[in-house]
């Protein structure tokens, strides 16, 4: 043993430490079953953690595959997957906190394009396979008009505060101005030919969701307003509502007020268009059914569960309820029959919020 032995020991220890073997990523292969219907599920993940994910659920077999984007593309999609949208043969993932959209081949789920530089994108609609509209909360509220092939932004349409869900109705684009970080109570209606604002219609506080009912009318869910004072106390609260409106004229033909302390975030319709379902989102427990013909809102929830989001399968009428118990562990997909019977329950990614169906 000499003086160098001392340094030799240290060197060996250092080598042991610095040569720790890196663990390999989870590279599970995945095979997408061809010919089966697919329900794509966007999982938000925890804000700032970049652990959003995409799940695919096979309604016929009841099997789910999680983290499919990561498995196929060898990377994570980004931070907070707000929504998933099927347009033609492409799937568009709106990644809110990453301010980007990932375009995938809907059959292989291989990523083909990343479109960046949005400002807090939320949802997407398209009037063709070439042109899409993305609602963004940033820039004080805008719709980005996107060339879906090249990924270039064609135009930016200013809206009200917090543009949320949208609907293409005839040659109009109807935008729910949900208030975002503030308040709003309007719908912005744009002419799709000129991309100019056509009209601004006042519907109710915080319009969140919209869906088509027939050739002349649409249903809008207004969440209702909650305003907190500088001391944190609730100083103003307005009731939510569901509103039937004729976009061409701006006439409100039906309005159903909810209880003043109930503020659902999502609206869906049954395939036969006989019933509306409302519920989901922060602060609202359960999914309630509204019979359109009888104008009757059920007092008892059809689904007695707190759901972060839900969607209705337009083919079967089944209700896909999404549970996000915490944002530090996986959530759940609960599949209910139209009568509210739980048919299947499978684990998803973290913070599931939206389902999109591919026939």
């Amino acid at each position: 043993m000499n003086k160098n032995l001392f340094l030799l020991i240290v060197t060996v220890i250092l080598t042991l430490f610095s040569s720790c073997k890196k663990e390999s990523d989870n590279q599970d292969s995945i095979q997408i079953v061809e010919g089966e219907r697919i329900a794509f599920i966007s999982n938000e993940g925890a804000f700032g953690f970049g652990n959003s994910s995409l799940s695919i659920y096979y309604p016929d077999s009841g099997v789910i595959e999680n983290q499919v984007f990561e498995k196929i593309n060898n990377r994570k999609p980004g931070d907070v997957m707000q929504s998933v949208n099927l347009i033609g043969n492409s799937l568009f993932l709106i990644i809110n906190a990453s301010n980007k959209i990932e375009k995938l081949d809907a059959k292989t789920l291989e990523q083909s394009l990343t479109i960046g530089n949005f400002s807090l994108p939320r949802y997407m609609v398209a009037n063709s396979e070439n042109r899409g509209f993305i609602s963004c909360w940033g820039e004080t509220g805008v719709i980005k008009v996107l060339d879906l092939n090249s990924g270039s932004i064609i135009s930016t349409l200013p809206t009200g505060n917090g543009p949320e869900k949208m609907l293409i109705h005839k040659d109009k684009l109807i935008v729910c101005n949900s208030g975002g970080f503030a308040n709003d109570s309007t719908l912005s209606i744009f002419d799709l030919n000129t991309l100019e604002l056509d009209t601004l219609i006042v519907v109710g506080d915080q319009p969140m969701d919209i869906l088509e009912f027939d050739q002349n009318s649409v249903w809008v869910l207004c969440r209702g307003k909650m305003v907190y004072g500088s001391g944190g106390q609730l100083i103003e609260e307005t009731a939510g509502s569901i509103v039937r409106i004729e976009p061409q004229t701006g006439n409100i033909t039906e309005k159903v007020m909810l209880q003043s302390n109930q503020h659902p975030a999502h609206l869906e319709i049954s395939p036969d268009k006989a019933s509306l379902y409302l519920g989901g989102g922060y602060g609202f427990h359960g999914v309630y059914k509204y019979q359109i013909a009888t104008q009757q809102l059920d007092a008892i929830p059809l689904i007695d569960k707190s759901l972060y989001g839900f969607n209705v399968d337009s083919k079967t009428g089944n209700i896909y309820g999404l549970e996000a118990p915490t944002f530090t562990q996986a959530g759940w997909l609960n599949v209910y029959s139209p009568t509210g019977f739980l048919m299947n329950r499978v684990k998803t990614g973290i913070g599931p919020n939206m389902v999109c169906f591919k026939d």
Binding site: M1, F17, S18, D79, S119, G232, Y282, G283, A330
Partner: protein
Amino acid sequence: MLSAKKHNDVPAIVISPFSKADSFLIKRIVVKQIKDFFKDFFLLHVFKRRLTYLMLWIGAVSCGFNNVAGQDTVMLMPVNIISERLNDNANSINISKIDSFTLSNKIHKNLGDILQSQSGIQIRTYGYGGISTLAMRTGNSYQTALLWNGFNLQDPLNGGVNLIALPSFFVDKLEMHKGGETSLFGSGAMGGSVFMNSGVALNQGHKLLVVGSFGSFESITGGVAFTTSKKHWASKTRLFYKNAKNDFPYIDRTSREESIKYQRNAAVEQLGIMQQNTMKTGKKSLLTVDLWALNSDNQVPATVYQTSEIFSTNLTKNLRGALTYSVYRNRLSLKMRHATIFNSLTYNDKLADLNYTHQSFSQISEVESKLQFNQNHHLLFGINNTNDRGISESLSPEAKQNRTALFLAYKWLIKNRLNLILNSRKEFVKSSEIPLTYSLKAGYKIAKPISLFASISKNYRLPTFNDLFWIDYFSQGNPNLKPEWGNSQEFGLTYSKKWQCSALSAKANYFQSRTNDLIQWIPVNNIWIPKNIQQVKNKGMEMNMDYKICFSKQHFVTLSLDYTFLKSVAINNSVPSEETENKQLIFVPKHKGGVNMKWFFGKYFIAYQQTFIDKVFTTSDHLDYLRGYSLADVVVGRNFVVNKNSFTLSFSVLNIWNTEYQTMPAYAMPGINYDLTIKYLLQSTKHE
């Protein structure tokens, strides 16, 4: 202590001509030390069983590491106002000190940079230049107290302390006390406490310290400290400035094709002043006045998933003032102290048009007395009153709290072999029942180099103002929350021996704890509400070894190895499921270790430090995790001394192996980077 002691503002490296070591002599020294080490234990027949465990540890310690207190080089300034309560009433096995060399070499860094390498501490950094917090023996930053001269700096709003706003230029002494033994200091010290102290001693003459550092990513740091210290009064003023752009390259793995990207929006600009005064008001009385103001303007770093420019910033303002009056009368000492602490954080996001300001205001008053009956019996008792107020748009006006605590400690030394320490504290606060907290510690010297330690403790943490009073659209505080509380037990042994030209010290301990009524924010009807739900069980081992060998008076090497094993599991979750049951808590590494080696030869020094951090899970069902990593830093330098003045030049290579790592998900951290530091200390002869 009232009397002033010799001190140095800048730990100077001892300088002398290099002398060659005799390899044969070294061999003999090392062999003799190994023999001595084992002989000490074999002689202790009574403790043969324990020997088995010790041997196991000796084997294990060679696999683990970390930093250590280098007892060598130069002592840091002994500060009069350092709380004696701290050192007198803790088991030495739980105390880790940052050595003066490390503190001096990172004088231009922040506390997070220093503590990063410490075993048993987890530093979570939300991006380079972003908010940085610490947690000890636990997963939560609000369960680890950080005290400045004995005053708790944990923000009453969230229980955390942002380490980036704590420049080490304002720190003279830094110690970590692991475990819940620091129950004398009240709420928030469940996992452990970090004690940072600064002050100015009497009778030290005039000093001017100028520090400048230039580093990668357009980082410039400057500090000036002027001390004038006479027989009856002393004053020290420190000015600190830091400006760093922090745009560093990293490998972007979020795109289909990997590419080099640059971290954006991570700039930091800080300006701070610390002013400290010590006055001798009588033969045996002392008054100290301390002021500390810091303005820290930080951009909030973008995550690696961000594709567009972001423009969010955190503007932090801290204002702290403390007044301490001490009187010493033979066996009795009395201290009266008051501190005012103001914290303000303004978050601004231009993109989302958000602007929030959260402020807190604390008034802490304390009277403490220490009575020494004789050499073997010491009694300490006191009363503390803390008044906190939170001001924020998201807090109700009820965010106020006044609490009063009585504390008592008794230390009993028996025949210089056994010491028993009892600490207890009872706190009173309106609308909440706080349990009596205590710690009972015993230390027994079974032979000259070997001591055994054991302790039990009960501790607690009050809910933060955010837990109690927060309200917004998505979440709501719960005014009915109870304090978190827990019990912990631990035992261990230390070995310490000096030879003619070397010294070895080692310690190992086992600990376990259970924390109850942990506060978790859970969705109730999709509104996030905090509730007392979780139970967490911790157990682990900490091992440390320091070795120093001198080849001559000015040529020596120190080696420190450090290792911590920590198993921390939740046994009662908000969402009970098989997927989360008995699994390691998120962001708590099971293994952390390090090695720290320093070599001083005459005017030159070189130090190498490597830290290993195990992987951490980022989801409670362990679906996602961050990889473990190992970081290494090297610093080389030279010291120049003319008369009493010294000039030190050092060059650091940080992350020398260019390790790719993240401490928080989605936040890139820099690869290899450098800094050059210059320190100049001008001092006059001391006044008599």
